[in-house]
């Protein structure tokens, strides 16, 4: 970490401001990036991190302020220009071409500037294969649209790594990744930094910041708060700077021994879907939070979606509160009180061009309607406001389009949508993806409270500390089957990783 | 001053559909010439679209301007009954041309006799290729005058020359590429095809191209004319074309409309005056048609005719 040249910032931002109508996203932000450093950018949801980076990449135009690259004031007007200047960007929201192969997606920027007039698909696929090999097992010839969101995230990362850049911006790249993939990414980041490439790293995961970054800059409400050397500070300090107060315990207390109940809320027997998963059986007891762990592509999402009848042709028994359910469509599941929070909020979780209020109400419109199915707009707004307040949603008004919210706040809208129906069982797939520490703790607290009132909670998360911190029991999925269960003291990262990857040595070793 | 003269400022309107179609140009010239001779103002009106609602709207808007009379080409007969009757009741005279609304109160209808055209064409074909030959037609279902030209010819052959064999009947809707395609196919299927009858000129252009390409010897006759078919007539690729006397249609159409505005000029030998009808009723005026051949083709160059004339 001593290779950092302290006196020569490659990127220097001063007094940058940006508003969206009445919303002031950035109010005079300063930021400084040195050569070869990994610089974390932290802040609550909606603090302005993505906005700041979008300005650096030329996607957004600042209202005022100055950006200096290599000491020269510069006006970056487009991503194309940013790319020419050597700025690479992994976006928070995945932006890939679904109808195009993985290899072409990865080399899109390269193709764009290539001097060769002809495509060389074979070379593209070979080189894509080389990069992907380090990150995960993805077929370079597959169409991106057919990949699950986690693999798309890897493609997005691979894409940035191929750019010949001096400044690399990573906006929450690990939100949907498990630790294994994340570690590969961190290795690469460190190597790049050693080569003198400067990296801006945005994440809500303090561990990642503290294990990999040199410095951290904190934003709050669009304002610059402070920049600290990671070595000289603690996660608590960073969090305090972010939220302006101390967040003491990150995870709510688990069930105590006497609280544990034998009452079974949900019982699943022999859930099977032709090729994706088979013979999945588990039960969910009253009051507990159940976790599902596994490697990327293990099939956790598929199992849960299948259970809710969102996808595939599934066989098996599902019993809720002792009553056997006959589910044919997801609508039946919702009617029975079983809901699913999608891992892909942009793809299938939210209606981005619609208002916050109509997003929150979408699961059960009857709740905000008077007799005969006439929507009561006031009731709809109230619902969104109430849930928004509960989740600490940062927004202007409930008629605002969801697309104008920050990533983490969009996630909160998605969660609000699930909570709106007072479900009996909620399956949450990466529920805190992109959510800041404070809100995350809040969401965990809400989940715990719900569990205590008898709602069944099942959490899928790629972030093992989260699973371990929140869940009373974790089931490990491996290649579409349950590989084991861990509870209490046995719930350690090592144990879970072991169960998740036994018999999968080849992938683990790569 | 003659009674066959307009009051100062008195206006007559000619209303058509697809108003940019060149067919109307000589009609309107005839209309204007008659009007000029009688000291009347004229307006050319209608809708550029093939859309009945729009034509009705434009007709009703004409009425808002309270003209003396309207020479109308109603796109469809029945939808115009009510508007025409309303016009007549409000004192605007209406005469139809080239298409009729027979159940309305319009006073006169002027057109070329499509049956006569079809009969002429049939006789000419027999004269050229004999009375036992194969022939084909192109058509445009739904357009009444084109329909009539085609069905009348087929019926005439069936009745008078039963050995004439209809081997192709294709809808090409005035689209020259569609006509090319259809004719090419008909030629393939019927190497002995001797003659074609086409009720309009657009399809004829495509048909000629197909016949020339196939190097077939087919007698082509069609109705109406375009500069291209005119050149083909001159070159002998098209045998002849039957062209309605558009100028006469407009000229006589104007006079019929004018007369309808002045029923008092006439004390007819019938009951019309006492029973409240306009005595200037003429159920049908035939404006006749011209036969365009190699010899007289030069007189049918519309561009030459319009040189120095105002189209509006």
């Amino acid at each position: 970490m001593s290779t950092v040249d302290r006196d020569d910032p490659i990127l220097k931002i001063t007094k940058l401001t940006k508003s969206f109508g009445p919303i002031k996203a950035l109010r005079g932000v300063d930021f400084e990036l040195r050569r070869g450093e990994i610089h974390a950018l932290a802040g609550e949801n909606g603090a302005g991190k993505s906005t700041l980076m979008n300005i650096v990449d030329g996607i957004l135009k600042p209202d005022s302020g100055e950006i200096r690259l290599d000491g020269v004031p510069i006006n970056i007007t487009s991503p194309a220009m940013a790319q020419k200047l050597g700025i690479g960007f992994v976006h928070q929201e995945i932006a890939l071409c679904p109808d195009i192969t993985v290899a072409e997606n990865i080399f899109m920027g390269v193709t764009n500037t290539s001097r060769s007039p002809l495509m060389d698909y074979r070379a593209l696929e070979r080189r894509a294969g080389e990069i992907l090999h380090r990150l995960g097992d993805i077929n370079p010839a597959a169409l991106v649209g057919t990949l699950p969101i986690s693999q798309q995230q890897l493609v997005e990362i691979a894409k940035a790594l191929t750019l010949d850049c001096r400044v690399l911006i990573l906006d929450e790249p690990t939100a949907a990744l498990t630790e294994r993939e994340s570690r590969v990414l961190f290795d690469i980041m460190r190597k790049l930094a050693a080569q003198g490439i400067s990296i801006i790293y945005i994440s809500h995961r303090m561990v990642e910041i503290f294990e990999n970054c040199h410095r951290v800059t904190v934003l709050r409400d669009g304002q610059y708060i402070t920049t600290m050397n990671v070595a000289e500070t603690t996660p608590g300090d960073v969090v305090r700077a972010m939220v302006g107060r101390v967040i003491d315990s990150l995870y709510p207390p688990k069930l105590t021994a006497e609280e544990q109940s034998d009452e079974i809320i949900l019982d699943v027997r022999g859930l099977t879907e032709r090729s994706r998963f088979s013979d999945v059986s588990f039960s969910l007891r009253r009051g507990e939070i159940l976790g599902l762990a596994g490697l990327i592509g293990a099939g956790r999402s598929e199992i849960v979606k299948g259970l809710c009848r969102l996808e595939g042709e599934v066989s098996g028994e599902v019993t809720l509160h002792g009553r056997r359910l006959r589910l044919r469509h997801y609508a039946d599941s919702i009617a029975a009180g079983i809901v699913y929070l999608s891992e892909d909020r942009k793809g299938d979780g939210l209606f981005l061009d619609m208002s916050i209020a109509s997003n929150v109400s979408a699961l059960k419109l009857e709740q905000v309607a008077r007799g005969g199915g006439i929507i009561d707009e006031r009731a709809e707004a109230d619902q969104a406001e109430t849930l928004g307040a509960r989740l600490n949603l940062k927004y202007g008004h409930v008629g605002q389009q969801v697309s104008s919210l920050s990533g983490g706040n969009q996630q909160k809208v998605a969660i609000a949508k699930m909570l709106s129906v007072n479900p009996k069982v909620i399956f949450l797939d990466e529920p805190t993806r992109g959510v800041d520490v404070g809100a995350k703790a809040e969401i965990h607290r809400i989940l715990r409270d719900l569990a205590r009132t008898g709602v069944g909670i099942v959490v899928i998360s790629s972030e093992l500390p989260e699973l371990i911190g929140v869940c009373d029991r974790v089931l490990v999925v491996r290649e579409g089957r349950l590989a084991g269960e861990v509870t209490g003291e046995a719930m350690t990262e090592d144990r879970i990783m072991y169960l998740a990857s036994v018999g999968n040595e080849r992938r683990l070793a790569s | 001053q003659s009674k066959f003269q307009c009051e100062p400022g008195e206006t007559f309107i000619m209303n058509v559909m697809v108003s940019a179609h060149p067919y109307w140009v000589p009609v309107y010239q005839g209309f204007k010439q008659a009007a000029a001779a009688m000291g009347c103002q004229t307006v050319f009106s209608g809708t550029p679209d093939y859309d009945i609602t729009k034509q009705i709207a434009s007709f009703e808007q004409d009425l808002v301007k309270s003209p003396s009379g309207v020479l109308l080409h109603p796109m469809q007969s029945d939808p115009f009954i009510e508007p025409i009757d309303r016009a007549i009741d409000s004192g605007v005279s209406v005469v139809t041309f080239a298409a009729d609304s027979p159940n309305s109160k319009r006073t006169a209808y002027i057109t070329s006799d499509n049956l006569a055209e079809a009969k002429f064409a049939a006789e000419e074909i027999v004269k050229q290729v004999g009375d036992s030959a194969e022939y084909a037609v192109l058509e445009n279902p739904g357009q009444s005058n084109h329909d009539l030209r085609v069905t009348a010819l087929i019926a005439y052959f069936e009745k008078n020359y039963p050995n004439m064999k209809l081997v192709g009947r294709q809808a090409t809707n005035q689209d020259s590429n569609a006509a090319y395609r259809a004719t090419a196919s008909i030629l393939q299927a019927n190497p002995n095809l001797a003659a074609m009858w086409i009720p309009e000129a657009g399809s004829a252009e495509g048909a000629v191209a197909a016949v020339l390409e196939a190097k077939a010897k087919v007698l082509i006759m069609h109705a109406d004319v375009t500069p291209t078919t005119l050149e083909h007539i001159k070159a002998g690729n098209i045998h002849m074309s039957l062209n309605p006397n558009q100028g006469v249609q407009g000229f006589m159409g104007f006079i019929a409309t004018f007369l309808a505005t002045r029923p008092d000029l006439f004390d007819p030998f019938n009951d019309y005056k006492v029973s409240g009808y306009n005595p200037m009723q003429i159920p049908f005026i035939d404006n006749g048609f011209a036969v365009i051949t190699k010899e007289n083709a030069d007189s049918f160059d519309l561009n030459a005719y319009m040189q120095g004339r105002d189209p509006s």
């Binding site: 209606f351 981005l352 199915g373 006439i374 | 009703e60 808002v64 739904g142």
Partner: protein, 324 residues
């Protein structure tokens, strides 16, 4: 100026925030310009003629707008409208009571819509290609049924013709029907849970499915509804014209889609309002009528019409952008 006013000022502010305000302004400007340009423009008869010219098509626009919002499109509206006239006309000529004949024709059109819905939702084809095929087939059925000739129906009973030709007071029945259809569907679309699902489906079909909405059912129903409304329009046209025309409505689809799009409907689904679409219809229709009224040379009419269309959407776009 920043305080939230109540009463008139508040209403104005709310009006200014509406997406439709730009269009309303453009139409107003057009009206003012036209009433200076022609003394006949602001007459009752001219207004009536203009309204009659778009009222029935407006019913089709309503159906198309809802379909567009759900993410679909329908090129067959013109021929399905014609088919409704032809079916009802033929049945009537064969002795069926005109009301029953009309109901059967509307049912037939609805069935055609259901057929298209089937191909789109069950087979998985695109609306564009399915409705194009149906456009051709329905036109063929019209020709087959009539031999290409219009069917004269002046024997229709007067109480039936009344829906197309009658007036209630000074207001033509056609316009009354149009206004009722517009108000009903505007209300349904803005306020009911049933139609809200149309927006969800069009906005993000997958997210709608993940909200428990049977999106295929929604698309099936909007497709069916659009054809059903074409049936209704066809019957009204029949009563108005006293005839059934097999060639009616050729090219109508582009006009109808254009009206909806000018009014803010998106071709990729999820947005659109009935009010906007109707304003779009009015705009297109008033421009055509005005050109006819002003006796603009036919050779210039298309050029002017196209240019006004382009300017109007450009201005509307900028007004909306400015407004935020």
């Amino acid at each position: 100026m920043d305080r939230t006013g109540s009463g008139a000022a508040g209403t104005i502010r709310r009006l200014l925030r509406m997406r439709e305000t730009g269009l309303i302004l453009i139409i107003l400007v057009l009206f003012i310009a036209m009433s200076f340009a022609s003394p006949y423009f602001l007459t009752w008869n001219n207004m009536r003629a203009m309204a009659m010219a778009f009222a029935v098509e407006g019913i089709v626009v309503v159906g198309m707008t809802i379909l567009l919002i759900s993410g679909g499109i329908d090129l067959s509206v013109g021929s399905v409208t014609a088919l409704a006239m032809v079916i009802a006309g033929l049945l009537f000529l064969n002795g069926v009571d005109p009301w029953i004949a009309s109901a059967m024709a509307i049912a037939a059109c609805t069935a055609i819509g259901a057929g298209m819905g089937f191909f789109v939702t069950r087979v998985g084809l695109h609306h564009f290609i399915v409705s194009l095929a149906v456009m051709v087939i329905a036109r063929g059925l019209c020709l087959l049924g009539t031999g290409g000739r219009p069917i004269g129906l002046y024997t229709l009973p007067p109480e039936f013709k009344f829906i197309g030709q009658g007036s209630i007071g000074v207001i033509p029945v056609v316009i009354v029907i149009f206004v009722v259809v517009v108000l009903v569907f505007d209300f349904l679309l803005r306020r009911t849970t049933m139609f809200r699902k149309v927006f969800y489906t069009g906005s993000n079909e997958k997210a709608a499915a993940y909200s428990g909405i049977r999106t295929k059912k929604v698309v099936f129903l909007t497709t069916t509804l659009c054809s059903g409304l074409c049936g209704v329009a066809g019957i009204i046209y029949m009563a108005r014209f006293g005839s059934a025309q097999p060639t009616f409505g050729i090219g109508m689809e582009l006009n109808v889609i254009a009206a909806a799009v000018i009014g803010g409907a998106s071709l990729s689904g999820g947005t659109g309002t009935i009010l906007g679409a109707i304003l779009g219809t009015i705009l297109l229709s008033v421009v055509s009528s005005s050109l006819a009224l002003l006796d603009v040379s036919v050779y210039w009419q298309d050029i002017i019409r196209g240019s006004i269309l382009l300017s109007a959407v450009t201005i509307d776009h900028y007004i909306n952008k400015r407004r935020g």
